[in-house]
């Protein structure tokens, strides 16, 4: 499947420079993929948008609607959002969260799924909510693990070991956050707290401290 990639300003967390996905792109196509940390800002400069089969905008923690606008719950077009799930500085995972709006074009959705599958990735479709699927589910779990570590529920090693042995998780929450970065966890969960206002998303003390240390 042919696709065009437009690289906006800022590093792409989904497709870092030199990735095969970029080198396989065509000069122009009915499917346009905007990548980079400011991919949404490049949308305005894209001409002839209505003629495209799909326009895929790489998202950070923001909602797609920041770039498309919203209208009484009837929003949706050939413009979709996407992000490969990635923890901190880990390599991007093979999972793409494809963000749709209530009236997103079915043709655009099908094209996006096919495009990413042909690139060797798997796709989960979700609606345009902060945190999409994975961050929305795991950030409360990570926050709670950090809080319970503070409260002495168990040692960090025992917390990790229990969740690995008991549930088959590849990594315990504490070792995962230490590896991928507590400050990064802070940066992901804080916007979720602002949107949802639920304590579960409030950055845990250890994440706040780690963030503050990066600013010293």
């Amino acid at each position: 499947m042919e696709y065009q990639v437009i690289k906006a300003e800022g590093e792409s967390r989904s497709f870092p420079d030199g990735s095969e996905f970029m080198s396989n792109a065509s000069e122009s196509s009915e499917i346009v993929v905007l990548i980079g940390s400011n991919a949404g800002d490049a949308l305005g400069a894209l001409s002839d948008q209505e003629s495209k089969r799909a326009i895929l905008v790489e998202l950070g923690t923001e909602c797609l609607a920041l770039h498309t606008g919203e209208s009484r719950g009837r929003e949706g077009s050939n413009i979709l959002g996407f992000a490969r799930f990635r923890l901190g500085n880990d390599a991007p995972s093979d999972l793409v969260e494809l963000v749709c709006q209530p009236n997103s074009s079915e043709e655009a959705i099908d094209s996006a799924i096919q495009l990413f599958k042909e690139a060797g990735l798997e796709v989960s479709v979700c609606r345009d909510f902060a945190g999409r699927i994975i961050d929305r589910l795991v950030r409360p779990y990570y926050n709670e693990a950090l809080r319970r570590l503070d409260e002495g529920l168990a040692t960090a090693d025992d917390l990790d070991l229990t969740l690995k042995l008991g549930l088959g998780y590849p990594e315990g929450p504490i070792e995962l956050l230490e590896r991928s970065g507590l400050a990064d966890h802070h940066d992901v969960t804080k916007p979720l707290f602002e949107v949802y206002g639920e304590r579960a998303y409030a950055p845990a003390r250890r994440a706040i401290v780690a963030k503050q240390r990066t600013q010293k």
């Binding site: 989960s124 994975i134 929305r136 589910l137 709670e144 002495g152 529920l153 025992d158 229990t162 042995l165």
Partner: protein
Amino acid sequence: MDDIKTVAVAGAGTMGSGISIVAARAGFETYLFDTSEDTIARARKQIEGFFAKSVAKGKLTEEQVSEILSRMHGTSKMEDLASCDLVIEAVFEDLNVKHDLLGRLNDVCPEHTIFASNTSTLSISEIAGGSGRSDRVVGMHFCLPAQLMKLVEMSPGLNTAEETFKKAWAFCESLKQKPVRTQDTPGFILNYFLVPFNNDVIRLIESGVAEPADVDRAIKKGLGYPMGPCELLDLIGLDTQVRLCEAFYEVTKDPRAACPPLLKRMVAANRLGRKTGQGFYNYEQNAMFGG
């Protein structure tokens, strides 16, 4: 483990049967107690079936299985537990039921006998309060299926003597299990994290963010979990999740532990998961249940 030679497991359900396999396999004389003879007979049949598979897979010989089974004694008579050094209760998750059992065991068992509770939700201190020997009660939560999973969450109650905890810990290690020490707080470690997480998944589906298959794919592929949360919920049973929510919310009042409305509706519709053939997935037609 020098001090503990004979053990009993009270409650011959899935959990109790699994724990009795672990104990007998590790060389302990093991009583499997239940008030129902039918339940004991059914458990014995399931245990024999498990060991038959072990032989078929080459993990054990027929001689070894025969020896293990000779150490397992099913009984409905509580007096038969009078020789036990440790009793692990795995009865229904109801404080009154556990108090009644431990109170009667306290009359039958010798002073040195340790009572361990396999509870996953109730407080060890509260359970111990009805035992008549709260210094000799300890939490010993095995994971399902106990005969395969190595992890055991071990929790002392407020009155548990350190000597009791050490003996129980050493016993657990002699079972070739992997104990971890946790505080006596609701859900210990595993369920403390799992129950609200699963509720978050159900609420996310209910609010139309994603379909169950998309959630499962994201979690498995994005995080490397072996099962998706909807697959896991269907496996453990949605009615079980409701009971866990009720037990947790009662104690913690944590909004994430409250039973999501979609979960209640699915249970009311008998969509309990694999056990009824339909939950988040349909196991006959392989179709999905959407939010």
